[in-house]
Amino acid sequence: MDKLVEAKNLVTTFPYYGKRRLTAVDNVSLELRRGEIVGLVGESGSGKSVTSMSILQLILPPGRVEGEVHVEGMKGNMLDYGMNSKEARSVRGGKIGMIFQEPMTSLNPILTVGEQIQENVITHLGLGKEEAKARAIEMMKAVGIANPETRYNEYPMQFSGGMRQRIMIAMVLAAEPEVLIADEATTALDVTTQAQILELIKDLAVTRNLTVVIVTHNLGLIARYADRIYVMYGGHIVEAAEKYELFENPSHPYTRGLLTAVPRLNDRKDRRLIPIAGMPPNPAELPPYCKFYDRCVYREEGCKKGKAPMVEIRPGHFVRCCLSVEELDAKRAEVEAQAEAVPEKHISNEVEIEVKNLKMYFPLYRGLLKRRVGDVRAVEDVSFTVRKGETLGIVGESGCGKSTLARCLMRALEPQGGEILFQGKDIAHLKERELAPIRPKITMIFQDPFSSLNPRQTAGSIVGEPLKINKLVKNRDEYDARVNELFRLVGLDPDYRSRVPREFSGGQRQRIGIARALASEPEIIICDEPVSALDVSIQAQIINLLEDLQSQLGITYLFIAHDLSVVKHISDRIVVMYLGRVVESSPAERLYENPLHPYTKALLSAVPISDPKVDAGRERIKLLGEVPSVLDRPHGCAFSSRCQYATDHCRSEVPQLRDMGDGQKVACFLYNN
């Protein structure tokens, strides 16, 4: 295989306090070969995006890139030409195309999508206007956009997120690049859409002999789509290998740690995640020796002596670690023995909360007089029960009503209809005053650890606020003792009480949020995407914390998330929602082994398992189109517009949940016998 792009000893630095410079990319060497898909994986701050931008010379001064970049067909070191040279520009966007994370901001909203693709064609291929248009339409067809001739004249706002990302790809492809860099290109999309886009990229790589670089933090995606993988940490490439080799023989302590830290769909019920201690490093405070030293469980005094060299341990498998593979493997048993057992759960048969036919509509006003023209039916006829001490997972893609459901249960919203029985008492329509005794019993953990804490309040006062409001403590001493206890419970040093939120990291902030939720000794905690904003290694810490707290305090969780692997890991039972309705509810294990509803099947198959061998053997179900808006929910079964089994019956009548035995319920006509 010939090398298309080769970067050697790339060092990218940015100025930091005074004369010091921080090194975002440190001595990175990588190569891209024709027709392969390369995965660049790492947590936030690992330098993965900066690496791809350095290769394209997109680093603006005062940032500085040193090293060598060789591109096939170009003489010498690309970095010597300078970022604005003709050569650099012909590589950027010409030979190497890049798609970014935000499809909302990377397209110009006031130009039609066709014009934007056409413009790119004219710049890079030098075609005439008509030819360029023809080529643009051809590209739109290639990325799977229906009716490209009509859609050519539409504006970005008329496209959904997934469609915009397709347009971005069409735009980049129009210039006939040989390398396509996808920098977290599907992170902002729903799982099923993400799978569609990545399948498209993979097909394009094959049909057009394109080299693709997938930059992501998601190990599963890499396992499914990449051929060769670079793992980055603290600006270094710490491990590089072919996909199967890497997942079978992960060698660097960081790679090993990552693989045991992420939950997988095929996990045993009793698997305990092993988080990586500490937090992702701040590029400004990296040690001069091994960057992973502080968090490494394999570390030895000798590691501090100097930077580890990149060693080829097997053909094509490189590792940057001071210890040899033999030494690492020898220590492995010792490390794994330290893994904690899964805490015991105590699920009683008592029903903690029961939801019956819950409905939540938001009025929709239109026109000059703001007449009420209809409702947004965010939650429609939802019923389920949660037993004391268990965890009920609620999954669904964006717009399926899971957050609205959470806000109804919290009674931040008053539902239009239905009942919410909390310990047998209907709280759906209670007045604020009547809710007062119930409020402390149901609390919430929020998604965003940044916006859920008042930036002007100290951590101690955030955690202590519910104590004061509900008069749970008698005096100052008791208050202090309880706040300190809560801090210790969530693994925070009580000395940090007087700090304000911005002095904490994301994971620590989420711990403060959890401590706040625990303060009033709740019976139920509603967790709304509590780990989706966190890095993979931190995710495991928080998930373990939640599991520990449940077994210690016997709390019931309602765990809402879009990440099926996480939900499956933590939940005892799972409810799958689609456009405001429950389509399937089932014990967690059973949902993975025997999904019934076509949507559940598609959702499961869209989530990659971070083990390429297992993943390759799974059945793939492709979905048609994207999640429609709640505003034009299809008649009959909401899923009928995307379901390959849909019949006329499905399109005219709404299926009800039917008991299929073993605690599994499904709302689908396929199982009506």
Binding site: S452, L453, P455, S498, R516
Partner: protein, 303 residues
């Protein structure tokens, strides 16, 4: 037991100490951010200069601002009158020095009161919503539909000039801007997760407004106020220039410029000096305002 209690008290004391230290640290950080840029220092020095001039006006002024001297009539700068004399033979320098007082007092007083009232009403609108909110917003719109200068002139004609009336009238003119801004800010904060969290733990709405919403809308209001002081001084000068502002013989920069207008060609210094003062103060205030805005905005501090 006793030792545990002492330990606790010590830890609380340490807690408080740490909090104070943190607060002073964040204030130092603020100052560092504020004066990190040289141009902001220039603004701060300029503003400080005019404030000192206003405070020590009697010591700085070389003459009584209202005593007339026939020889000095429209005279150019000289040793005895460093900025020359005005139409009535009064010392221009002394008049400008005393005029600084009027400008600053009117500007600061009007801005402070309108910021306080506007913020209160804005938060009230956000807090109550519904009818009160709608009435307040429509009132703002109605107010903004009429040129402020016309409103001010009418009010002055009714209540008469004078420094306090002037401040009051300019204050009324400034309220709608503060009201709209604090309402918009409060509504954003009220939609945040931490307010929801407080609400769900049963906190009273009024306390939420005070404890969670207010501290988070203060910094944009401070920024707006700094910039509004300059605007208000401009407005006062404008009104005085039109002859409806501060009553003669009280010296005000605007009224001095107004008096000097006919002699623009013959005695240019007469109009030049007050204009220069006004321009300098305006520039200083704007530089300082921008500096405070940048220092208070965490997104520009690289956090």
């Amino acid at each position: 037991m006793a030792s545990i209690t002492t330990g606790k008290i010590n830890s609380i004391a340490a807690d408080k100490k740490a909090a104070t230290a943190r607060r002073s640290r964040s204030f130092r950080q603020f100052l560092h951010g504020l004066f990190g840029r040289r141009i902001v220092i220039l603004g701060a020095v300029g503003v400080a200069f005019f404030i000192l001039v206003a405070i020590f006006a009697p010591f700085i002024a070389t003459h009584d601002p209202s005593s007339m001297e026939a020889a000095a009539k429209l005279a150019g700068p000289s040793a005895s009158h460093i900025m020359g004399g005005d139409f009535y033979g009064r010392d221009l320098f002394s008049r400008l020095v005393y005029g600084t007082r009027v400008s600053l007092i009117v500007g600061v007083l009007a801005t402070l009161t309108s910021a306080a009232i506007g913020t209160f009403l804005g938060m009230l609108a956000a807090y109550t919503g519904g009818v009160v909110d709608r009435i307040l917003m429509r009132a703002c719109e109605a107010f903004n539909a009429i040129p402020q200068i016309a409103v001010s002139m009418t009010l002055i004609t009714i209540f008469g000039g004078g420094m306090l009336n002037m401040a009051l009238i300019l204050c009324i003119g400034g309220i709608p801007a503060f009201l709209r801004m604090s309402r918009a800010q409060a509504l954003t904060i009220m939609n945040s997760d931490y307010v929801l969290a407080a609400k769900l733990s049963g906190q009273k709405k009024l306390i939420i407004m005070w404890k969670h919403v207010f501290p988070n809308i203060v910094s944009p209001i401070i920024v707006m106020a700094t910039q509004s002081v300059g605007m208000t001084i401009m407005m006062e000068s404008g009104l005085s220039f039109l002859g409806v502002g501060i009553k003669v013989p009280t010296p005000s920069w605007g009224s001095i410029i107004n008096e000097a207008r006919p002699y623009l060609m013959t005695s240019p210094h007469y109009v030049l000096f007050p204009c220069a003062c006004l321009a300098l103060l305006m520039i200083s205030l704007n530089l300082l305002g921008d500096g405070i805005r940048d220092a208070l905005d965490p997104s520009l501090r690289g956090e």
